[in-house]
Symmetry: C2
Subunit: 468 residues, 2 copies
């Protein structure tokens, strides 16, 4: 079929107003960070799984590649087309209904195009809680994309990653067949668990069109502390101490380096030092409980009994008050953007080795690249550090980025490898790390992945150029 | 190779004392319930993954089928050989070391042959908690088997199933290659999640030889209630009420019918009615907290504020006291065994539909088979009901079992299907439900499962006659 005929056929399936081509398609062909741009025959917006199925069948018959897209907030170029190739963007945003809500089963069936913030709000309205929390993007990203990338965020140490919050899936396979795995069971051992294959596969095995999500009772009490720390090693020890004394009441444990704070103060209005003095590292940690019990005393006792690594701290049970501190954490990415480009990493190591990672990677980089700025922050409670590198001087930085990205990555990834870590903790591989992963993953594991891709998507139509 | 040569070769790999054949092999060829017996060329006991690998390579070269076995406590004939076929039992019991313990990362690396009770004890000794709890079998079953069957148990509503407690796996593939996926990361989005394929596959895709397990802070406070309930519908409502008022502090919620209690009183010494009067249904529920806070008042307030469905209750913060009630729950299976055989089911439906399931299945069965006894109990908090049927009269029962098992299953499974449930909640398929599942699972899902089996085990050597 010719391009125009294909577009007409897709329009018949989804409606004329639900197919964009040419200039109108362009915004959907560039990624969130503006690093990847591609081209698509069309952007197609189905509103039902059945439409997804028909579009996919037409693509399969005409060897058109399919790029699934939700809110297009991937940080790895995972949801935009390649510059070349006969491909469409299949955008799920119109599939945005909450299909069912079961308050007794603590579950909700949401379509892929529901925005994460809307899912969270729907849960809250029904006196329950959907714990996936992404500080920056949750107003834009969609649950289908969250599941396809197995999103993480700030509450993982308490509630797990996106995959841990799923009971069932509806998936349209590359050949257009619909797998209805929308079960809402807490226990089901009746064969291989297929849903975990599609979760985190970044749209390379099929398209998640709906999911049964696990809900939780709503926390009713909260206490947040901002803690000035001597160094990351003290922060690791503090986390361990808090787990021993406060257990799984810890719902967040984030670390922020001085370089992050300075960037935030420089670029983001109404932000200021959390303490009278300046400290090299701060930690924001939160306790939560489903009962309306006072947690600030618990947190205070735990911090006081910790010892030397804590230089100072402040505690509040009040959301507005703690928001001052969270504002610092939530604006790190934005502040970095305003400062200029940087080499970004999303790494994980065992929680016990986070400090070792920071010390070793810092030393290796400063040794080879004197004068660099390292911006380290993130989900220490999950061993997940965002670790970004740039030159202070803008001009120097441009050249540094262009010439040294590969060398910087090599140094950082070597430390990750030594510590049995992962070069992609929560953002996925997308286009960004598709080639690199081949050097860091067990060849046997890559072989198994390719075999699985081969049986589910034998013609290689799904999200070309991503992951594998 | 001839049988004797094979046995010699296996002996060279694992040692002479680690290969059993003939009569010595027989105990490993009959299942826990005594329902399935088979034959094996030998039972081989490797002590290292490398030995597993070499044994598997030899099997692959000689087209010998492999039946992986842990504690051999499968309730579905999942871990014993078939009556015919050239097969070995590969028993993992000698691989029983805890390889590593990381208290800060809250993780432990255990070999497949570690007994579940030993894993729990090792965690406890290190001031942490491994939450998988199987009331009857944990002294006998092994963690490799627990993961291969994605075991459930009584704490699932708080901590998830076995698969939720795993960070990484070591697996020997059917061709003998070892996949080292022993990562201990809380976040790792660097490709398809292969571990979830092997977990719950009942040894049909490869052999789990070791796992990195997630640990939790140890609960320090507990309160248990025994509650007399009007009916299962009231119990469902109570669970919902408790989740709203006590949230995820609920660590167990078990329902027990009168018929279970009567059997326990009849067969198990030192057991008695929990209340002065006899009631049709009782619930045992438990709250736990990581802080040493009194929970009995919380539980009392929650039960008092519930209303009519609760006929009476008693609460204790004391472990010994609550053990009296748990003894009733834990001995149901044993009491049934002593009473005689029965048709057993391990079913799940959404938590919100448990009462509907019991009412509908009871009605359908009593209608067709007057005079039957229905023994219903289980993990209501997970929508998982054990639902067993027999005739009161022993002689009648023998005939009933022989002639009516298929008819009984059909009636029960029809109700499960209507409620979007699963005919195997936590025990797996094994041999028991291998054929039946074909009638109850989406053909597309079965096709995907077969395709996955085909790429991982192309010669069909792993655990023949189970699952698929």
């Amino acid at each position: 079929m010719k391009q125009n005929d294909l577009i007409s056929s897709w329009s018949v399936i989804v409606g004329n107003d639900a197919v964009l081509a040419g200039d109108a398609a362009a915004p959907y062909c560039t990624d969130w960070r503006g690093r990847y741009s591609g081209n698509a025959l069309a952007v197609v917006f189905p509103s039902k799984a059945q439409q997804v199925s028909e579009v996919m069948k037409l693509c399969a018959a005409n060897q058109v590649f399919i790029v699934p897209q939700g809110g297009n907030t991937s940080l790895c170029g995972g949801s935009v087309p390649l510059p070349q190739g006969k491909q469409i963007v299949l955008n799920l945003s119109r599939m945005n209904r909450i299909r069912a809500f079961d308050p007794i089963n603590y579950s909700m069936t949401a379509e892929a195009g529901c925005k994460l913030a809307d899912v969270r709000e729907a849960a809250e309205k029904n006196n329950s809680f959907f714990p996936l929390g992404l500080t920056v993007t949750q107003k834009y990203c969609e649950i289908g994309g969250n599941l396809s990338t197995n999103a993480g965020g700030i509450n993982v140490l308490r509630y797990g990653n996106a995959r841990d919050l799923v009971l069932g899936l509806e998936v349209v396979l590359p050949d257009g067949r619909i797998w209805n795995g929308l079960r809402s069971l807490r226990k089901d051992n009746s064969g291989y668990d297929l849903k975990h294959l599609f979760i985190g596969a970044e749209g390379t095995l099929g398209i998640i069109t709906a999911a049964v999500l696990k809900l939780y009772p709503r926390p009713q009490a909260e206490a947040t502390a901002c803690v000035a720390m001597r160094d990351p090693a003290a922060a690791v020890a503090l986390l361990s101490h808090l787990r021993a004394t406060c257990g799984d009441k810890i719902s967040a444990f984030e670390i922020i380096s001085r370089s992050c704070l300075d960037l935030v103060f420089k670029h983001i209005p109404d932000t200021r030092e959390p303490f009278a003095a300046k400290y090299d590292w701060i930690v924001i940690t939160q306790l939560a409980d489903v009962l309306p019990v006072p947690l600030d005393a618990t947190l205070r006792d735990a911090l006081k009994s910790f010892g030397k690594g804590v230089i100072g701290f402040e505690i509040t049970p009040d959301k507005d008050h703690s928001e001052r501190w969270w504002k610092l954490r939530k604006n790190i990415s934005e502040a970095q953007k305003l400062e200029g480009i940087s080499i970004k990493h999303d790494l994980s190591v065992p929680v016990s080795r986070v400090a070792e990672f920071i010390v070793c990677a810092d030393a290796a980089l400063h040794n080879v690249f004197p004068g660099i700025r390292i911006v380290a922050f993130g989900h220490m409670g999950d061993g997940n550090i965002h670790y970004n590198i740039s030159m202070l001087d803008t001009k120097q930085n441009q050249a540094f980025m262009a010439q040294q990205e590969a060398a910087v990555n090599k140094l950082v990834y070597a430390v990750v490898r030594d510590l049995n870590g992962s070069i992609s903790a929560e953002h996925g591989l997308g286009q960004l790390k598709r080639d690199t992963i081949r050097d860091y993953k067990d060849p046997l594991e890559l072989e198994l992945m390719r075999n699985i891709k081969q049986i589910l998507d034998p013609h290689g139509l799904m999200n070309p150029g991503k992951v594998l």
